[in-house]
């Protein structure tokens, strides 16, 4: 009856991780200067930087090249793999797609290029959207890859984002993993019965799944709320742990937007 089987050990030579939390699939674990900065400091620096980029006149092509260079320096310091950052940047494609159309419909004067009549102003607008969009997306991706979602939310709270919004966002984060698990278990159960979605004819099944998932999530929301009330929840969640932010952190993080702002000023003066 009792067996003593031979144990087959598979070779699993994996990268190290120390316990990612929920919603941290964008986070790339490294030990770097950028990772170590407090979340709210990084967030403020990223937002100010993006504002500076947006406020730069489109004709200052050189300034945008420098901004892009600055982002790459940050990516380098954060020790993020470039291919990963580039792959994630593909997300901007649908947003900049219409920028491609602008040169065709913009006002006079027009220029000839490869037999196409293109609006000069349209070309500049398209360049502006593309450049500002790309730099903004690259900045956000860097922020997301170097900051844990939980820290980001906590950071938002300390810089004055309303408590309720932060709570809603943190519940979304907490339960997105649960709902995703629900969804993947339902998917496994569907596939076990021989179903795999391939096209429009399967939308009905997917819609039914979505409906069932919605009801389950809604009911779970009610149960969670009841469980919170029965432990004395009264609308606020008190956070005992607050990260310590030093002046040095601010100086380090704000280096990026400050350099960018000087370039913007030069661009405005010289144009």
């Amino acid at each position: 009856m009792k067996l003593s089987p031979e144990r087959v050990v598979l070779d699993t030579n994996n990268a190290h991780e120390h316990g990612h939390g929920v919603g941290d699939h964008l986070y790339v674990h490294r030990h770097s200067l950028v990772h170590d900065l407090p979340a709210q400091v990084k967030t403020v620096a990223a937002i100010v930087f993006i504002f500076v980029v947006v406020l730069t006149p489109v004709h200052a092509v050189g300034a945008f090249a420098v901004y892009l260079g600055l982002v790459f320096v940050v990516v380098k310091i954060a020790d993020l793999p470039f291919p990963l950052v580039l792959r994630r940047m593909l997300i901007e494609i649908p947003f900049v797609l219409f920028a491609v159309l602008m040169p065709f419909f913009g006002p006079e004067p027009r220029v000839e290029f490869l037999g196409l009549s293109l609006s000069q102003e349209g070309l500049w607008s398209a360049f502006g959207i593309l450049a500002k969009g790309t730099i903004g997306v690259a900045t956000s991706i860097t922020l997301a890859a170097t900051t844990r979602a939980r820290d980001l939310l906590q950071g938002l709270e300390t810089i004055g984002v309303p408590d309720l919004l932060v709570q809603i966002a943190s519940f979304m984060l907490r339960y997105s993993a649960v709902v995703t698990d629900d969804l993947s278990r339902m998917k496994v159960a569907r596939e076990s019965r021989g179903f795999s979605a391939t096209g429009v004819k399967h939308w009905k099944v997917l819609a039914n799944s979505a409906g069932a998932l919605f009801i389950r999530s809604y009911e779970r929301g009610e149960r969670v709320h009841l469980a919170m009330l029965s432990r004395g929840y009264n609308g606020t969640i008190i956070d005992l742990y607050k990260p310590v932010v030093t002046k040095k952190d601010w100086r380090t993080a704000m280096a990026l937007p400050i350099v960018a702002a000087s370039i913007m000023v030069i661009a405005w003066i010289t144009l």
């Binding site: 009856m1 598979l10 699993t12 278990r185 159960a189 596939e191 021989g194 998932l213």
Partner: protein, 257 residues
């Protein structure tokens, strides 16, 4: 054992090892054969790899090493047509019926699997009603699943895979969260089914009641295989694998049919 030479085993797992993408190895070389008509309980503590093993039986997970054969057909996650047949042959009833039931009515939910296998028309209707009758839920065909009791939902979940006429029925914790009456009703239904059965469970009296044979999966390998009654009466084997009988339950004094 002569007949086994002619008909292939319902389930043949050989040297199955698997590690999750994060590097966590769950199975360390599982060997398990189940002959047609056998009823086997898969026992083991939490985290032994039971669910991981089940996920390999119909190709939801792809083996890191080793093979799984169902009625002689190899589970190969690359071959889509073979995989469809594998998923028909292996009927898995998941632990939470809410994961399995998602269509607006019981009838549509039970029809979901057969439709995916290409069954239509009168044959489909017959298969659906037959499956529902087997679990005693034919009267509920037009009800929405979420209005049923938990025990009824579990039975409908069993019907959804029975409708696919599987070679082997795999049940993940069939008695969990059921009240004693629902638990007994489900046992009556399962006992009457003429099908090969693999039952993953912590409910040892249930295993004894329904399965003459049991295997223990512990730390990713099968560490014991034998008659359920012998395993439950082997105190040292039970203790080694964190298996415990409910208070007051003595398998030696139980009448097993």
């Amino acid at each position: 054992m002569d007949h086994t030479l002619k008909t292939p085993p319902s389930l043949d797992v050989s040297g199955l090892a698997y590690a999750y993408p994060d590097g966590n190895q769950a199975l360390y070389g599982v060997n398990l054969q189940i002959q047609p008509g056998e009823r086997v309980a898969l026992l083991g503590p939490n985290g032994a790899g039971k669910t991981t093993l089940v996920m390999h039986l119909n190709g939801i997970l792809a083996a890191g090493l080793g093979t799984v054969h169902v009625g002689g057909l190899a589970v190969n996650t690359e071959d889509k047509d073979a995989l469809r047949e594998i998923r028909r042959r292996v009927g898995i009833v998941f632990q939470d019926p809410d994961d399995q039931l998602f269509m607006p009515t019981v009838r549509e939910d039970v029809a979901f699997g057969p439709i995916n296998m290409g069954v239509t028309g009168a044959e489909l209707e017959a298969q659906v009603m037959q499956a529902l009758e087997l679990v005693g839920m034919a009267d509920y065909a037009d009800r929405p699943p979420h209005h049923l009791s938990f025990g009824q939902r579990r039975r409908v979940a069993v019907a959804t895979v029975l409708a696919m006429k599987p070679e082997i029925l795999v049940l993940d914790e069939p008695s969990s969260n059921l009240d004693p009456a629902s638990r007994r009703e489900l046992a009556d239904i399962l006992r009457d089914l003429d099908i090969t059965l693999l039952m993953v469970t912590h409910d040892l009296p249930y295993a004894l009641e329904l399965c003459s044979r049991s295997v223990i999966l512990s730390q990713g390998t099968i560490v014991a295989d034998g008659k359920t009654i012998d395993i439950l009466c082997n105190d040292s084997l039970m203790a080694e694998n964190r298996l415990e009988l409910p208070f007051g339950f003595d398998p030696k004094n139980t009448l097993v049919k």
